[in-house]
């Protein structure tokens, strides 16, 4: 099996693991970490596709690689906004719970 296929398959599993954590973990910070793992799975998959596109003397297709750099920076910015939202939520309500209000139910 080639390196890129191996890592592409690994990436599929990472997305699954991240999705499981996103659903199951109750704490918003844990959901955020799980979501980052899910995102990194997408990045790894993208990167494997870049490696498959090696041509013209380049070890990998530089276009998806450049987009990946952009994606990693944007993911950090989104994580920072989420952390700030979370800290503000705790400051104003005193809890990090995402559960529905008792009367709201569902």
């Amino acid at each position: 099996m080639s390196v890129e296929t191996l890592f592409a398959l690994c990436a599929c599993a990472l997305v699954g693991i991240g999705l499981y954590g996103l659903i199951v973990q109750p704490h918003p910070l844990r959901k955020l970490v799980a979501f980052n793992i899910m995102g990194s799975g997408v990045f790894v998959l993208f990167s494997a596709l870049a490696k498959r596109g090696a041509a013209a003397g380049m070890a990998a297709d530089p276009v998806p690689q450049a987009l990946l750099i952009t994606a990693i920076v944007v993911a950090f910015a989104a994580t920072a906004v989420t952390v700030a939202l979370l800290l503000r939520l705790i400051e104003s309500t005193g809890t990090a719970s995402l559960a529905n209000e008792p009367p709201a139910g569902d």
Partner: protein, 329 residues
């Protein structure tokens, strides 16, 4: 041999991801995530993405890790309550099914990828000499797909505005985060005096070398921002007030110069962000130089978070109160 190493890296990644997702303690999970980020950069080296690996190690592992560790410290008290709300066996079973389903669909897609793989590498190789840049990734970021990079710079500024706007009214215009204090004779303060000169040189080298070798403004900006954070955490410097005019000017200078160069291209080369013949390299350098302060400031201030300390009374404001305001006070 190489396949063996890659296999071990892949297995370690999966194990760390599971560890991070399943760990009961949030601190353990975040520590696992930091190691996971470092291992990811190893994976990118194996996939021939040195620039991506540098970015991942600096931002994915380093900055995101620091951000999450800081958050864990402040969320300690809410963990136990959240743990009592954890999903029941039914929800977990459905989540397992859903995750396995998504993974299966992705695996089927990976196995059905077209041969030969579509690639833009020949077009990049053919047009790269026209940009005057040697590193194809820098060429893509600042010439062929410059619009993406412009939008990214704007997204970063918007994210910072978003973080700042979460400040309670009484802290608006103040300084973000806690004021760090550390033993002035301790190891941290020592490192914060010794490391920044070296870090600044390495950061600027990565910035300049990025034109022709792996590196570039993002990796460089992260290292410079990390040096600034180190100085703050050792108590040798403080985060800036967010109403500081110089800080605000530094934050918007990158996108503004980028847009100006883009408009210049529309005028001289017939397309927004087009570069006139022979002038591509100087214009790319101008954009990079303007983006560097923006990236350093935004990355560090995103890490600092929302303003949490009230602004010190400004002498100029109290000396010259508006008539309506002075009546109110």
């Amino acid at each position: 041999m190489t396949t063996l190493v890659s296999g071990v890296v892949a297995l370690l990644l999966l194990w760390l991801a599971l560890w991070t997702v399943l760990a009961r303690d949030a601190f353990v999970a975040v520590a696992g995530f930091v190691v996971y980020g470092l291992l990811l950069s190893l994976l990118w080296v194996r996939l021939a993405g040195i620039d991506v690996a540098l970015t991942e190690a600096a931002i994915g592992g380093g900055l995101t890790g620091a951000l999450l560790l800081g958050a864990v410290g402040r969320l300690r008290g809410t963990e136990a309550a959240a743990w009592s709300e954890r999903s029941g066996a039914g929800t977990r079973a459905v989540a397992v099914l859903l995750s396995v389903g998504v993974t299966t669909v992705l695996v089927l897609c990976v196995l059905a990828l077209p041969e030969p793989a579509p690639t833009l590498a020949p077009q990049v190789a053919q047009n790269l000499p026209a940009t005057g840049v040697g590193n194809p990734i820098t060429g893509v970021l600042l010439a062929f797909r410059a619009l993406d990079t412009l939008l990214e710079a704007i997204v970063l500024v918007i994210a910072l505005v978003g973080v700042w706007s979460l400040a309670p009214d009484r802290f608006w215009g103040g300084r973000p985060g806690p004021r760090y204090t550390a033993d002035p004779d301790g190891v941290l303060a020592y490192l914060a005096r010794v490391l920044p000169p070296i870090g600044i040189v390495i950061g600027l080298y990565l910035f300049w070398a990025g034109a022709d070798h792996p590196g570039g403004k993002f990796q460089s900006a992260t290292i410079l921002a990390a040096m600034w954070m180190l100085v703050q955490m050792a108590g040798l410097g403080d985060a800036p007030r967010i109403d500081n005019r110089w800080v605000r000017a530094g934050i918007v200078v990158g996108p503004l110069v980028f847009v100006a160069v883009g408009l210049l291209g529309a005028w001289t080369a017939g397309a927004f962000l087009g570069y006139p013949e022979g002038l591509a390299k100087p214009m790319i350098v101008a954009i990079e130089v303007a983006l560097l302060p923006t990236l350093v400031l935004v990355l560090a201030l995103l890490l600092n978070g929302a303003p949490a300390r009230s602004a010190d009374p400004l002498p100029s404001r109290s000396a010259d109160p508006g008539p309506a305001r002075s009546a109110g006070r």
